[in-house]
């Protein structure tokens, strides 16, 4: 009796079909990689054309840079991922941001003994601009934030904390949770904060407020002023405005810890 679909012959046929499917699958994926290589060359040409017309725009206009970055983000491309990327090589976006990264690190390092590794975006901006000199390209705060985001990859605690209308830039791996951040935000107006102010505004118990303030002291982010009228004040050097203090040397800073 003939039965269809069984027997050694049918099994062999099935195996052949599977192999052919697999083979087709192989070709498909491999093919696509070849296709990608070709498309990449074409894209490179387009990018070169774009660069020849608009490379200056990237360097000169921070508005254009913002647009550019946002468009890249929308389509899932990170133009700053690698110095070897097309965007970096042909448009020069890379060098612009990576150099900025170096400048940011250097500014933060130079001031760490004073502010414990926390600095306002404004101050960072000012100091970076000063360091770059008169003839360098202009740098916007958006540029700084993007450069800092990239620095995070190197694990040194670089981060950006929203405070008031602006940001604080953190450059040390101090652990700052929501509680700490909220106290920083509170201190932003006057540059210092007291336990009572925290209790009033945030409705915390004394223990919680002291715990947070102690942590900030330990991390070197806050200084304690016991001689203030009324109760002790916790000052945040990061929030000092440039006008009202002079630069403190590391030795002086060491002597200041109570």
């Amino acid at each position: 009796m003939h039965r269809r679909g069984v027997g050694a012959g049918a099994i062999a046929k099935k195996k052949l079909a599977e192999a052919k499917y697999k083979e087709r699958g192989t070709v498909l994926a491999e093919d696509q990689i070849v296709q990608m290589s070709k498309q990449l060359e074409t894209f490179k040409t387009h990018l070169e054309e774009f660069a020849s017309k608009h490379k200056q725009e990237i360097r000169k206009s921070s508005q254009f840079r913002v647009q550019f970055q946002e468009m890249c983000a929308t389509i899932g491309v990170d133009p700053l991922a690698s110095g070897k990327g097309f965007w970096s090589e042909m448009l020069g976006v890379g060098d612009f941001y990576y150099e900025l990264g170096v400048q940011i690190i250097e500014v933060c390092l130079a001031l760490k003994h004073r502010n414990g590794g926390l600095i306002t975006l404004d101050e960072l901006h000012q100091r970076v601009l000063k360091g770059r000199g008169k003839f360098a390209q202009d740098v916007s705060q958006d540029d700084l934030i993007r450069a800092i985001k990239k620095l995070k990859a190197m694990g040194n605690g670089f981060g950006v904390i929203p405070v008031g209308g602006s940001y604080l830039v953190q450059s040390v791996p101090a652990e700052l949770n929501m509680d700490h951040t909220v106290v920083l935000q509170l201190a932003e107006k006057k540059g210092y904060v007291t336990v009572s102010e925290i209790r009033e505004s945030l409705k915390w118990e004394k223990e919680r407020a002291c715990h947070v303030l102690d942590h900030l002291l330990k991390e070197g982010l806050a200084w304690l002023d016991l001689q203030a009228a009324g109760e002790p004040q916790y000052w945040l050097p990061a929030l000092f405005s440039e006008l009202s203090c002079r630069d403190v040397t590391p030795e002086e800073a060491n002597q200041m810890t109570p």
Binding site: S37, T42, H46, F50, H54, Q67, S82, V102
Partner: protein, 382 residues
């Protein structure tokens, strides 16, 4: 189309380019003109069109010939158009591509978009009628009623006008740049989609991708700045570029590491290397990916991540035991040490000094005194 004249396409004195748009085909009335797809240009005085491939083929019409114009929306398979109704041609019109035409209107068909901006600019120019106040150096034939006589733009009005033109020029440059940018991004998006398709095929094991092809694929992703969606880490992950980098770093960092007690924070390395390079700088991710390859390439350096998240490059010769031992020695000798003091003692940065002390503490050799006065380490006598 019989209103058009041949022209060399050069702008006259006082004539400024307002906007241009590629991919435009001219229509004589409702019929395609016997011209190819080209570039349409709007100046303060004229509407010009030039063949994309054959630049000699260039026609123009003075803006004063335009009675009115309107948009015609795109349809299925049809590009958006601007319909322009024209005055009859003057008797002394220069020769053009068409001797006569039954239509008194033409159309601009925008095959590569740009009609919205073009329409806006055309409207502006037709309102301002700048050709009336700054006639071009060559006489432009126009319908009767045009004011004759030269009015040179002088004085504040003239300066303002020049500034306005310059601003428009800059605007045009920027908007052109943005438009080109959008087109570029469309193409980049195709690349992203293709790479995602490949990645999903790799994941579903649809096909046997060789290691070589994987490396090639990764380098393509790197070039485009696309995150690697295939997280399968084969040994020796990273691209050839990163391997090369890793070897370079192995050379460059020997001496600086020795000087700094065998360890440097990654941010320090980043600054050192990039300052030395001057250009073609490394991205932070490049550096991290290269450092990750130290071990597999058997280089005498290691990337190390501390609990706190701090990343360092250290010489392999400076082993963990050595570091801990030196920490214990120093602390015992001085009775107690803070990170700052330890750092000063060894010529290390405070950050790294702290990491060593923490490490020794983790191993149970030191214990801490954590107060508001600072973090101090003592030998562990328990």
């Amino acid at each position: 189309m019989d209103r058009f004249m041949w022209t060399n396409g050069l702008l006259e004195m006082n004539e400024t380019l307002v906007i241009q748009q590629r991919g435009v085909r001219l229509y004589d009335g409702d019929e395609k003109a016997k011209l190819e797809v080209g570039v349409v240009l709007l100046s303060t005085h004229r509407l010009l069109w030039r063949d994309l491939k054959n630049h000699e083929c260039c026609v123009c019409i003075p803006l004063s010939q335009i009675i009115f114009f309107e948009e015609q929306a795109a349809g299925i398979g049809k590009s958006a158009k601007i319909v322009i109704h024209l005055h009859p041609a003057p008797a002394n019109k220069e020769p053009g591509p068409y001797q006569n035409s039954k239509f008194s209107y033409i159309k601009l068909s925008f095959k590569e978009h740009g009609q919205i901006e073009f329409y806006r600019r055309l409207t502006e120019e037709m309102i301002q009628k700048r050709w009336e106040s700054t006639p071009a150096s060559q006489p432009i034939t126009a319908t009767a009623g045009l004011k004759t006589g030269r009015t040179r733009a002088v004085g504040i009005v003239g300066i303002e006008r020049k500034l306005e033109e310059k601003r428009k020029e800059t605007d045009k440059n920027i908007s052109e740049a943005f438009e080109d940018l959008s087109k570029l991004m469309e193409k980049a998006k195709e690349m992203v989609e293709l790479s995602r398709s490949i990645a999903s095929k790799i994941k579903d094991k649809q096909g046997d991708i060789t290691e070589d092809e994987t490396i090639r694929f990764k380098s393509y992703l790197l070039s485009m700045g696309i995150a690697n969606p295939v997280t399968r880490e084969t040994h020796g992950s990273g691209t050839h570029y990163h391997m090369q980098l890793a070897r370079q770093l192995g050379d460059i960092l020997q001496a600086p590491l020795e000087e700094r007690g065998g360890m440097m924070a990654l941010t320090e390395v980043y600054c050192l290397v990039n300052r030395a390079r001057g250009m073609e700088l490394l991205s932070p991710e490049d550096l991290v990916n290269a450092c990750k390859m130290f071990e597999s390439l058997k280089l005498p350096l290691r990337l190390r991540v501390f609990d706190s998240g701090v990343m360092v490059v250290q010489l392999q010769s400076h082993s963990e035991e050595e570091m801990i031992a030196s920490a214990i020695d120093s602390v015992s000798e001085k009775g107690s040490l803070t990170a700052e003091e330890f750092g000063k003692l060894l010529g290390l940065s405070v950050l790294l000094a702290k990491e060593r002390l923490l490490l020794a503490e983790k191993m149970g050799h030191l214990c801490r005194d954590d107060s508001v006065e600072g973090l101090r380490f003592y030998p562990n006598l328990f």
